[in-house]
């Protein structure tokens, strides 16, 4: 491999990794807050992409301008899913872990079916973005503008999330709730309200990822499955509940995937990510930065 080809692999891996991190962080946040793994996370991403597509279709505006609306809609979706589904799953006295997995898995299947029912299984793509199809060349290394934009959005989102968690009352309430769910009730924090907002925030983050992804990826009812497994592995690799871990793990996953594809036959490129995950958890059973 030439130096230039290696630079290309690393640059592409970094950009993809930042997007993986952005997809994964919402999942990790929700888990950290209340020990729930959302198996419909990929379908949240799919929903966000369809919302972005629908808004572009209705307004003909650039999808970049519409991103705040997508994020807001997904915040609502997350809150509704918590209030309508997860709240009940958490009340289960027996098999809580399984109930959560299968309630959210059922929701995922239902969302896929609903997407097919209302929107047909046809492939959609957004063609009107100013960013679309543009690419930046730096000494033979090609960096597509939509992915660069996605990477920047991801970094900004992590920065914003850090400030939110450390500087705001809401962030402190989140932190307090994840530390000790019983005690927060005593100091007058409504646990249910924090969970609702937490789910909203988690879904809003994957909404942001979906809005970015919709600019350069195709949209169809199964698209969540393409990114779903990578998101779970990223979260577990970084350590469930760790926001910083999701960022680091996302970038690592991006690099490792790109490098594996350059070394092994590309059909086996996920092998690198999977081996890395196993290697890490066999040594550190709670991931790179996990507390549990």
């Amino acid at each position: 491999m030439t130096a230039q080809a290696l630079a290309q692999v690393l640059a592409s891996g970094l950009l993809m990794g930042l997007i993986y991190a952005l997809i994964a962080v919402g999942l990790s946040l929700i888990f950290g807050l209340m020990d729930v793994v959302n198996f419909a996370h990929g379908e949240f991403l799919m929903t966000a992409m369809y919302v972005a597509f629908g808004l572009v279709f209705l307004t003909s505006l650039d999808p970049v301008l519409l991103m705040p609306i997508v994020v807001a809609v997904l915040f609502g979706v997350g809150a509704v899913v918590y209030l309508g589904v997860v709240r009940f799953a958490m009340r289960a006295k027996a098999n809580q872990g399984m109930v959560q997995i299968f309630a959210t898995f059922g929701l995922a299947t239902l969302l896929q079916g609903a997407a097919q029912y209302f929107l047909t299984p046809d492939y959609r793509s957004i063609g009107n973005s100013w960013l679309g199809g543009k690419t930046l060349e730096l000494g033979g290394v090609f960096l597509p503008l939509p992915q660069i934009f996605g990477g920047l959005v991801s970094i900004a989102a992590f920065g914003g999330l850090y400030l939110l968690m450390s500087r705001t009352d809401f962030g402190k309430a989140l932190e307090a709730t994840r530390e000790d769910q019983g005690a927060v009730a005593l100091v007058g924090i409504d646990r249910n309200r924090v969970f609702t907002l937490g789910w909203g925030l988690g879904a809003a983050l994957v909404g942001l990822a979906g809005a970015v992804l919709a600019i350069f990826y195709y949209i169809h009812p199964q698209v969540g499955a393409t990114f779903g497994l990578i998101a779970y592995v990223t979260v577990a690799l970084g350590g469930f509940g760790s926001v910083f871990g999701a960022l680091v793990a996302g970038i690592i996953v991006g690099f490792v995937e790109a490098l594996t594809a350059a070394i092994l036959p590309p059909a086996m490129k996920s092998l690198g990510i999977y081996m890395l995950y196993l290697g890490v958890v066999f040594v550190r059973p709670s991931g790179l930065f996990g507390k549990l």
């Binding site: 098999n95 399984m98 999977y274 196993l278 958890v281 059973p285």
Partner: protein, 336 residues
């Protein structure tokens, strides 16, 4: 682990309750065995075969997932090993599926033991995701291994009807009985385990985590053995599926949805119970098959909405499983 680990504790003896369980099982399985002579429709017999198969594999999953609480979402790996071992041995070497069943089962059990040491250290979701990842690695390797057909899969040759090669062109009744046999065996193994020291230990650990400390090493070994038993019977299920279908490719025996389908009946019916997987499969499988057949042809996705909605509603409404609807008292209270 000693040789008498599987025998019931001396104090317990054969309780009348356990004798009743055996009689009930004999009655239910006999009724199912007779059913294909009453329901002659091939399609419904096919649904019955799948129901029994998923009940059996889910029962195998239940030994590890339900009784030991190790939530594996990667049992498709063992199913695939069984299916591939049987197909390769039969198609390339002419070894009848009965042999392949044994080889696949033993191979799977060995793999489970190998993976058990590192994986059992992982807790909760880290364990579940590790099992998903390991099954995906298996899928990728099979996909890229030309010796076992790679993406092209393995086509079984057409042959005449025979119990020896497990090929029956139109008759489904033998498959009903084979799948039922597998279910009966897995049920009986679970029954034995439930009444053995292992069963008592696991229940003790569930009820009282501190008890785990005192039993530590023995518990670990019993879980390893449970993983091997679970993998063995899952592989036998895969082996049956391969001879039943007479064609396999990586996605049709090893994809992630199989791992979910093995856990789902146990979860819906009642996890860690003797009858949960059977009840769960008896409701889930006919429902999914029949909604797909009679609603899926429209291409509207309505069958997925029903399937997903049902799983969601049942798991939320009855976290202990559907079986609990029919029990007056939780079993644990009876025992304590």
């Amino acid at each position: 682990m000693t040789a008498d680990a599987l025998s019931p504790p001396r104090t317990a003896g054969m309780l009348p309750q356990r004798r009743k369980q055996l009689l009930t099982a004999a009655f239910v399985f006999a009724a199912v065995a007779a059913s294909p002579f009453i329901v002659r429709d091939v399609y419904l017999q096919n649904v019955l075969i799948l129901t029994l198969l998923y009940a059996a594999v889910s029962q195998s999953w239940n030994i590890l997932g339900g009784y030991c609480g190790q939530i594996s979402l990667g049992h498709a790996l063992y199913f695939g090993i069984g299916a591939y071992a049987t197909s390769v041995l039969f198609v390339s070497y002419g070894i009848v599926p009965w042999g392949g069943m044994l080889v696949g089962g033993v191979l799977s059990a060995a793999v489970a033991l190998l993976l058990g040491y590192p994986c059992f250290r992982l807790k909760g979701h880290y364990f579940s995701i590790a099992t998903i990842v390991i099954a995906e690695i298996g899928l990728l390797l099979i996909h890229n291994w030309d010796f076992v057909g790679g993406a092209l899969g393995i086509q079984w040759p057409f042959g005449s009807d025979s119990w020896w090669t497990l090929q029956f062109a139109r008759d489904k009744v033998p498959y009903v009985h084979l799948a039922l046999g597998l279910l009966a065996v897995t049920w009986f193994v679970t029954f034995l385990i439930e009444g053995s020291r292992w069963g008592y230990w696991w229940r003790a650990v569930k009820d009282n985590p501190e008890a785990a400390e005192s039993l530590g090493v023995e518990i670990f070994h019993s879980k390893m053995a449970a993983a091997a038993v679970s993998a063995f019977f899952t592989a036998v299920g895969g082996s049956f599926y391969a001879s039943f279908l007479a064609y396999i490719d990586p996605e049709s025996v090893m994809s992630f949805r199989f791992s979910l389908l093995f856990a789902l009946p146990a979860v819906l019916g009642g996890i860690g119970t003797l009858w949960g997987p059977f009840v769960g499969a008896a409701i889930l499988i006919p429902l999914t098959e029949i909604t797909r057949s009679y609603l899926g042809g429209s291409g509207s996705g309505i069958d997925l909405i029903i399937y997903g909605g049902l799983i969601m509603v049942v798991s939320l409404a009855k976290p202990e499983g559907i079986l609990s609807l029919f029990q007056r008292k939780p079993k644990r209270e009876v025992r304590s």
